[in-house]
């Protein structure tokens, strides 16, 4: 089963809220002396400088198939490879597999693996490693096992060929296999020795040199990387949860890159000397969901009334300082799967009509389940409470910690909740689990046979245009019936020194350092 946005928001959010208000505006210390150049820890295998990156929190562990922490994936993106991988436009490109073909009946995928690839410990990468990695996810029912739902067999034909058999046509198999490093190819010996949690061995552009818990992780460039030797000697990751500290360190020349940035400091950071800011609308989305097991929210009109009564623009400003992008469906505008939709404008008269139509009698109390671990849910809850007041609906905000939140979501003890979804690449990831009657994350209890049929058809439709049409129809129906009330896609916000070249902030939040170079150091 899937998780909401990983823990990245947690530490940064809690600590950032208080101290983030502090002004750093007065100083532009771009010219400060860098006393800290010796701080890199790792010396690269080559003479190239080591990139110093500050991420907002510490990985819980380094096994890519077991962790669900975004902090772990920031590091592991540079250590592991997948069979295929998304390019900047999120289209799937060859990685460990050089090419692939699908049988005529669409049920067998044959992958041809890259020759001469080795793991960081020198052992050869072969088809058996692919079989082992995928079997491990399936057999141990790791959290990504659902991505293999249609897979019936993974088989090594020879050292460099792997066959994957599926029970039904699976057009999104490539994005399932390569969408993120949770599907990485791992090494059997590394897993069985248990070392993978602290000393992972991959095939990626950097290998792990050392890990000091609480402090830092050092990667060193892999000179034998199949994609060519990286442009920096290594990467020194530190964990700086306090955004203002990370920004100070960046402006002071102590680090070269960070994504530990409070949204409210974005504007002044954009004007700072020697600093480049990269933003990109992300694939994550934030939504509201009304519990359809609780009357009157089983009525479409009642749910629509709420959708017409909320002030999206205010919520957006309050939670993201205007950095997020308003969206009334899940998939962001720059995706090829985007569908235009802007039905819900703020319209209290319409909301009142709909409530009357649903036969709702006011005053009415609505229980809003928020969590302090994601402060945006608390902020938005306060705005929504004042939005719904004129309708005679009193919003009772309950703020709990995230573990309790999950528990209460699953047991249905809420009328309304807000949460984010760590978006993936294929539209199936955005809609199936949440809105199919049998969906694993359908806590609101939405069920519409027509939508079920569309989502089922989307899973097996191999013609891209036809697929697009199916999902557009499903998505607009879901929004029309307010199964989710979609709010916005947050932005990916990262900042780096102008010495760092060829780096791109990606909408899937993958942090890739293999092609970057560092000038002037």
């Amino acid at each position: 089963m899937r998780r909401p946005p990983a823990r990245r928001a947690l530490t940064a959010g809690v600590a950032g809220a208080a101290a983030g208000m502090l002004l750093l505006s007065a100083c532009s210390a771009g010219e400060s002396v860098d006393l800290d150049g010796s701080d890199g820890g790792a010396t690269g295998a080559s003479d190239l400088p080591v990139l110093r990156a500050a991420i907002a929190g510490e990985p819980d562990q380094l096994d890519p198939q077991s962790t669900s922490s975004y902090f772990a994936f920031q590091v592991l993106e540079n250590v592991f490879d997948t069979l295929v991988e998304p390019d900047e436009n999120l289209e799937m490109q060859p990685a460990l597999a050089e090419s692939w073909e699908v049988s005529d009946d669409q049920l067998t995928w044959t992958f041809h693996l890259r020759d001469g690839v080795t793991f960081h410990d020198g052992s050869d990468f072969t088809a058996e490693d692919v079989v082992y990695s995928y079997d491990r996810i399936i057999d141990e029912e790791l959290s990504n096992a659902w991505k293999f739902a249609s897979v019936t067999d993974v088989e090594a034909v020879d050292d460099l060929t792997v066959d994957i058999t599926v029970s039904q046509p699976t057009p999104n198999l490539l994005s399932n296999l390569g969408g993120f490093k949770g599907m990485a190819i791992v090494e059997q010996a590394n897993v069985e020795s248990g070392d993978i949690t602290t000393a992972p061995v991959g095939t990626g552009p950097f290998s792990l040199a050392s890990y000091s818990p609480g402090e830092s992780i050092d990667l060193v460039a892999n000179p034998d990387y199949w994609g060519g030797e990286p442009g920096v000697g290594g990467v020194h990751f530190t964990f700086v949860s306090e955004g203002s500290t990370a920004i100070a360190a960046l402006q002071n020349g102590e680090i070269d890159w960070t994504d530990s940035i409070p949204a409210q400091q974005l504007e002044q950071l954009q004007g700072a000397d020697g600093v480049e800011v990269g933003t990109s609308p992300s694939n994550d989305y934030w939504y509201l969901a009304l519990n359809e097991a609780h009357a009157p929210w089983d009525s479409v009109a009642a749910r629509q009334a709420v959708a017409y009564a909320i002030d999206r623009e205010s919520i957006l400003q309050a939670v993201s300082y205007g950095t997020a992008q308003e969206n009334q469906l899940a998939i962001p505008e720059d995706s090829v799967w985007y569908t235009e939709y802007d039905e819900y404008d703020l319209d209290l008269d319409r909301a009142r009509e709909l409530l009357a139509e649903a036969g709702v009698t006011t005053p009415l109390t609505l229980n809003f389940l928020a969590t302090s671990d994601y402060p945006e849910t608390v902020t938005a809850a306060q705005i929504i409470a004042s939005n719904l007041e004129p309708l005679g609906i009193t919003v009772d905000i309950r703020t709990v910690d995230f573990a309790t939140w999950l528990d209460e979501q699953n047991t249905g003890s809420f009328d309304l909740l807000m949460m984010g979804w760590l978006g993936n690449i294929d539209p199936d990831d955005f809609y199936y689990a949440q809105h199919h009657s049998d969906g694993g994350s359908n806590a609101q209890g939405y069920s519409n046979p027509e939508v079920d049929a569309l989502l089922d058809a989307g899973r097996v439709e191999t013609d891209t245009d036809a697929r697009q049409e199916l999902y557009a129809q499903a998505a607009t129906t879901i929004a029309d019936e307010a199964s989710y009330i979609y709010l916005y896609n947050p932005s990916v916000i990262q900042a780096w020194s102008t010495d760092l070249q060829d780096y791109t902030a990606r909408s899937d939040r993958a942090i890739r350092f293999r092609d970057v170079t560092l000038a002037g150091s």
Binding site: M1, R2, R3, R7, L10, T11, V14, A15, A18, A19, L22, L24, A26, C27, A29, S32, V33, L35, D36, S38, D39, A54, G57, E58, D60, Q61, S143, G194, T197, T198, S212, P213, G214, E215, T238, F239, V240, S241, E242, S244, T245, A246, A248, A249, Q251, N252, E254, D373, D401, A403, T404, L406, D407, N410, S441
Partner: protein, 319 residues
């Protein structure tokens, strides 16, 4: 104090500490089991299924009777086995020991800075009650007590690290790896902790000195015509050492227990931040272990302070 007397004193104090420690273990153990919400259920989160629930419950021993669980927990803890972290799968003891050097570094540097400021300031202020210098010290320390440590930390980063460019903004370097790097990195967080502690300690020390200065024996000493230097050194300061030791011990133990906000601001890998992260992640084994370690640190500091009492004032015995 005779040699055997000192040993007996020490033995009784250690026994005393052991009893307190057992109490701490009972409380920590009970808390984990009494807190609303099932830790196993919470650990599984969205991955919850009946089978995985039963499996994890059995694996973590939570299906056994409470008393049995407690006995086994204490037994393991005594051998240094504090269990395994839910999240990382690493032994809790290993994780805690990795964090200890950073915590001790920060505590020692912070306390030294605090003592360097508060001892002279507090004694001077106490001996010059009502003078302008006393007022200056009182106002300054009152201001110091009122300043939040995260604000002070941010200001130090702003001024010392960014504007003056004298020290790094954040991070940690092990003393064993690079002593100079360690010193440069520990100074700003140490200063933050030290300044806040100094403000508190100055006020205590001033009060302690004042109390002694007004005591009967000091008046007697003065009236005997002893020089002010002798009165101050032998009678006032010496007798004020007991409350000074007490507040120093409390401050040291507090800093060792984790100065969470300072550690977060300076990205300092100490115990405070570890506990903060572990609580947020519901990593109960780690929380339990960390609380136990902090309790042990408190007890050790208290023990040392008690022993020092009898050094400073031979009349003091364990009552």
């Amino acid at each position: 104090m005779t040699g055997s007397g000192a040993l007996r004193f020490l033995a009784r104090r250690v026994l005393h500490s052991a009893v307190v420690l057992l109490g701490v273990m009972v409380v920590v153990f009970a808390l984990v089991h009494l807190v609303p919400g099932d830790p196993v259920r919470i650990a599984l989160g969205t991955r919850y299924t009946e089978e995985s629930y039963q499996a994890l419950r059995a694996a973590s021993g939570l299906d056994r009777p409470l008393l049995e669980q407690f006995v086994s927990y204490v037994g393991h803890a005594l051998t240094g086995d504090l269990g395994v972290s839910f999240r990382s799968g690493e032994p809790v003891t290993t994780t805690l020991l990795q964090r200890l050097p950073a915590t001790v570094s920060l505590a020692v540097v912070g306390l030294l800075i605090a003592l360097a400021i508060s001892l002279p300031a507090g004694i001077w202020s106490g001996l010059h009650e009502g003078r302008v210098s006393d007022a200056v010290v009182r106002v300054t320390s009152q201001a110091g007590v009122s300043v939040p440590d995260f604000w002070l930390g941010q200001m130090l980063i702003l001024v010392v690290a960014m504007t003056l460019g004298l020290l790094p903004t954040s991070g940690y370097v092990a003393l064993s790896q690079d002593p100079a790097g360690w010193a440069r990195h520990v100074l700003l967080p140490g200063l933050t902790v030290g300044l806040v502690a100094a403000a508190i300690m100055t006020r205590y020390i001033r009060t302690a000195v004042l109390e002694v200065a007004h005591a009967g024996h000091v008046r007697t000493a003065r009236s005997k015509g002893l020089s002010p230097r002798v009165v101050t050194g032998r009678h006032v300061v010496r007798n004020a050492m007991i409350p000074i030791l007490t507040i120093t011990g409390i401050q040291l133990a507090t800093i060792l227990g984790g100065v969470i906000v300072v550690e977060v601001v300076f990205a300092w890998p100490g115990l405070g931040r570890l506990v903060f992260d572990a609580v947020a992640a519901r990593d109960y084994a780690l929380v339990q272990g960390a609380v136990l370690l902090i309790a042990v640190l408190f007890l050790v500091v208290n023990l040392v302070v008690d022993v020092l009492y009898s050094v400073v004032d031979p009349r003091i015995r364990l009552s």
